[in-house]
């Protein structure tokens, strides 16, 4: 089957987008509902609780603020890596993608300091309803960060061979990987104030 039939390099005439991009958006739609279920659970648990702690009193706001900045920065380097491919500059793409991967790892390291501090003080998900939903939501988000790092690292190294064969398709893949990475940033944009600042 040629790539023309599968519409992975060029937009499908009906949807106006590549099938790859439509596929990623369908996946992100399911992700919105996955996290939506957990946000819904959070509203339900918090609404039914009589002594819900203030996030800023029990969690580390400075570390989480730093992590928010790290994730925002990684989002901009991700989109700059895509823009570099549109400008046909593979070197710049590699640079921005490498920074994106490193920032993703930095997020995980900072998050593990936060988790480690909690575990040292014997605070586990079983400690309270607050910590149960805190660990569930930040843990699931952390798994998404790990997934994104794996995909981005693949496209940084072995996956970039496709650039020489089909630059259009490769640029589309980086745009799709970027959509996922920005979504992970977007989830954190809501998690941060709701869990840490209220």
């Amino acid at each position: 089957m040629s790539s023309e039939i599968r519409y992975i390099s060029h937009p499908h005439p009906v949807t106006g987008v590549t099938n790859s991009k439509l596929g990623v958006w369908c996946f992100l739609a399911s992700e919105i509902m996955l996290f939506g279920g957990l946000f819904s659970a959070l509203v339900m648990l918090r609404g039914g609780s009589t002594n819900w702690p203030h996030g800023f009193e029990v969690l580390n706001v400075p570390l989480a603020t730093l992590n928010t900045m790290v994730l925002i920065t990684s989002s901009v380097t991700m989109v700059l890596s895509w823009a570099s491919l549109v400008r046909k500059d593979l070197g710049k793409y590699r640079l921005y993608m490498a920074v994106t991967v490193l920032l993703g790892l930095a997020f995980l390291v900072i998050k593990s300091f936060e988790y480690g501090y909690k575990f040292e003080h014997h605070i586990y998900p079983s400690k309270s309803t607050f910590y149960a939903i805190y660990f569930t939501m930040t843990g699931l988000h952390g798994l998404h960060v790990i997934g994104g790092i794996i995909v981005n690292a693949y496209f940084l190294l072995p996956g970039s061979k496709l650039w020489h064969k089909d630059p259009e398709q490769f640029t589309g893949r980086i745009e799709a990987a970027g959509l996922y990475w920005h979504f992970v940033d977007l989830v954190w944009i809501f998690l941060f104030p709701i869990l840490y600042l209220l």
């Binding site: 937009p11 009906v14 949807t15 106006g16 987008v17 991009k21 439509l22 958006w25 369908c26 739609a29 919105i32 509902m33 939506g36 279920g37 946000f39 819904s40 659970a41 509203v43 339900m44 609404g47 039914g48 800023f56 706001v61 603020t65 928010t68 900045m69 925002i72 920065t73 989002s75 901009v76 991700m78 989109v79 700059l80 823009a83 549109v86 400008r87 259009e168 640029t171 745009e175 970027g178 959509l179 920005h182 979504f183 940033d185 977007l186 944009i189 809501f190 941060f192 104030p193 709701i194 840490y196 600042l197 209220l198």
Partner: protein, 95 residues
């Protein structure tokens, strides 16, 4: 997103940097608001307002929704509708 001219891409990159600066500033603002220790209602409203502006900036510019095709926008419209349905379930059963 093919067929961009060099000038268009330069403009895009400037936009991305501006959005990045706005996101960083809004992060500082939302943390600063939390130090005011407002009562829960106003604190929640402000936190969600700032987060929504940040999310909007990411979705519109980094995820290119501002220039995206209708098929994607329809798909997302349906998703957002059902997301809101999900979030209205807890208040419905709370009273």
């Amino acid at each position: 997103m093919s067929g961009h001219t060099e000038a268009e891409i330069k403009k895009h990159v400037r936009t991305y940097i501006a959005v990045f600066a706005a996101l960083a500033a809004l992060t500082v603002i939302t943390v600063a608001i939390s130090y005011l220790h407002l009562s829960f209602g106003p604190a929640l409203a402000l936190a969600l307002a700032v987060a929504s502006v940040k999310a909007g900036l990411v979705a519109l510019f980094f995820m290119h929704l501002i220039t995206e095709k209708k098929a994607i926008l329809w798909l997302l419209g349906f998703t957002v509708f059902f997301f809101i349905v999900l979030l209205t379930i807890p208040p419905l059963f709370h009273h």
